[in-house]
Amino acid sequence: MSAPPAPAPPARPPRTDGVPADGSVRVGVDDRFHRAPSRPAGLQRVTQVAGRAIGPLFVLALWWVASAQAWVSPILLPAPGTVWAAAVDLVSSGKLQDNLGVSLGRAMTGLGIGLVVGVTLALLTGLSKVAELLVDSNVQMVRSMPILALQPLVIVWFGIGEPTKILLVALAVTFPVYINTHAAIRAVDARFVELATTRGLGRLALVRHVVLPGALPGFLTGLRFATSISWLVLVVAEQINATAGIGYLMTQARTVARTDVIIVGLVVYALLGLLSDTIVRLVQRKALSWSSTLQAR
């Protein structure tokens, strides 16, 4: 059947029957899943930093109140004032800085080695079936063993000098980096590898252009772990023939029951964790600017 042609409707104000009449200036929903409305970048950063500080400040306040109200015995959790005094003491005597400096050297060296080894292993096992069969199960097994129990063997092979401490850090760092990077490599979309094949990319170019960028988010997650683990392992590693280091400081404080120093150490650890985390976040933001995920708000 055929309807007769009808003239175009005359221009007139639109009717809004059946539709609520309230108009909003902003379009769409305002939800964290969507790019937030653009604000001056500086202001946004300040708000964010302030926001992140809320949590720690809350904990601090709780601690203060708990101490003031004597909810916890000061033997276990000294008052913020006591800890602050201990911290001032440690800083003014230069002890804290010195020990941190020593540990920083160990943590960074171990972290560097662990990163290189972890990524290399992940690339090997991620790209080659043979390497995976040979390496992966060994890595999994070593990862499952308590470092404390392995310590005597490490000492026999590497002595009690700096190499052992760095080795222990490297060992502990390697696993999170390896596992996350390995998983990320395996999760790279096969379609991009196909593309690379048609472009005649060699192994190296494939790694450079497809595998590494594709695995970068996973690697960064591993790195987030690795940074804090590199510091944590020092608590154990710096029991071996150390005369300085944040781990040494902690162990010593524990042996001589200096709870205030322990708490200072804990706070230092927390700050180190926040700091390295912030750095990794920045790297993440920069390195993943291409992505259209929830991450890239």
Binding site: P74, I75, Q151, V156, Q239, I240, N241, T255, V256, A257
Partner: protein
């Protein structure tokens, strides 16, 4: 009747309603077996609950939680507990090593050329800081006319020392059993002992809370009496006890026997002399910089059980 061991609930069915919570140190719970073997466990008028800690400081960390009442330890934990303000008192002192024996020894690699403490000058010596091992080294050096600065102390966990000695990273090790036995088994030679330096005492520590509780305090007195008798039984029946304890701890039975041969038992009255020995140690740690403000250890002694332990019942 087998009374509750660790993790048991309230002892509401016993006469006194008291539960003594004993913190054992080491690698396994052995005390109940000791009391049972010595026939001291059958007619306990209160409950005993045992818990296990790897070392003295770990016990001290549990004190503020109120989960423990008393323990027997080596010299140093109670000193550092005082530094940390842990609410405990030393309420009993016990001889644990035969006269003429010491459980601390300094051993060296045979090819290091070290044969005496004097030879340690300029050498690397593995010590565990803030322990009787460190104290022994300090005092042994003093007796040999040296000071702690004349050696290179290497701070190592006890169990890591054999590997370091085998590797040659340290020249000598101050150690005690069973690591000491392991060291000797791999050829290390004894170059010095704690004889005349270490008291060989064990110290009973009780929490202030437990001591403030009259019923508990009474139970402690009774329990320590039984424990002392049981230990005397163990000294008298060395092989028998060594077999039982090695079964429990996993310690090779030869080592258990060797340890048993050295051990002694018997309470020592808490007096100025005993306190002075500890004060000496505390001062040594102060000199080493481990303790910042000088300590008066006598504040941490409570001699209320002196009569019961060293007088009346024995």
């Amino acid at each position: 009747a087998t009374p509750n061991t660790s993790g048991a609930a309230d002892a509401s069915d016993t006469g006194t309603g008291v539960t003594l919570r004993f913190g054992e140190l080491g690698s396994a719970l052995t005390q109940q077996a000791l009391l049972e073997a010595a026939g001291e466990f059958d007619d306990l008028p209160y409950e005993v609950e045992y818990s296990l800690f790897p070392a003295g400081p770990a016990f001290m960390e549990a004190v503020p939680s109120g989960a423990v009442d008393l323990s027997i330890q080596a010299d140093t934990p109670s000193i550092f507990a005082q530094v940390g303000g842990i609410p405990i008192k030393v309420v009993g002192v016990q001889a644990s090593v035969k006269t003429g024996e010491s459980f601390v020894e300094i051993v060296a690699n045979p090819d290091s050329g070290i044969t005496s403490v004097a030879d340690l000058k300029g050498k690397k010596v593995a010590v565990l800081p803030a322990t009787i091992l460190q104290y022994t080294v300090v005092r042994a050096l003093e007796e040999a006319g040296l000071s702690y600065d004349d050696i290179t102390p290497v701070e190592l966990p006890l169990t890591d020392a054999p590997a370091a000695l085998a590797k040659g990273d340290v020249d000598a090790v101050a150690s005690l059993d069973p690591t000491l036995a392991q060291l000797k088994a791999s050829g290390a030679v004894v170059v010095g002992t704690g004889l005349g330096i270490t008291s060989g005492y064990s110290y009973v520590v009780a929490t202030d809370a437990a001591l403030a509780d009259a019923a508990k305090s009474e139970a402690i007195a009774d329990y320590l009496g039984r424990l002392g008798r049981a230990e005397e039984w163990a000294v008298a029946h060395g092989d028998e006890w060594a077999a039982i304890s090695s079964e429990l701890t996993g310690l090779p039975v030869e080592l258990a026997q060797a340890a048993q041969e050295r051990s002694a038992a018997g309470w020592v009255a808490i007096d100025d002399q005993v306190i002075a020995l500890q004060q000496e140690q505390a001062d040594a740690y102060t000199a080493l910089g481990l303790i910042q403000t000088p300590l008066d250890v006598s504040a941490y002694y409570d001699d209320r059980f002196n009569d019961v332990l060293t007088g009346g019942t024995k």
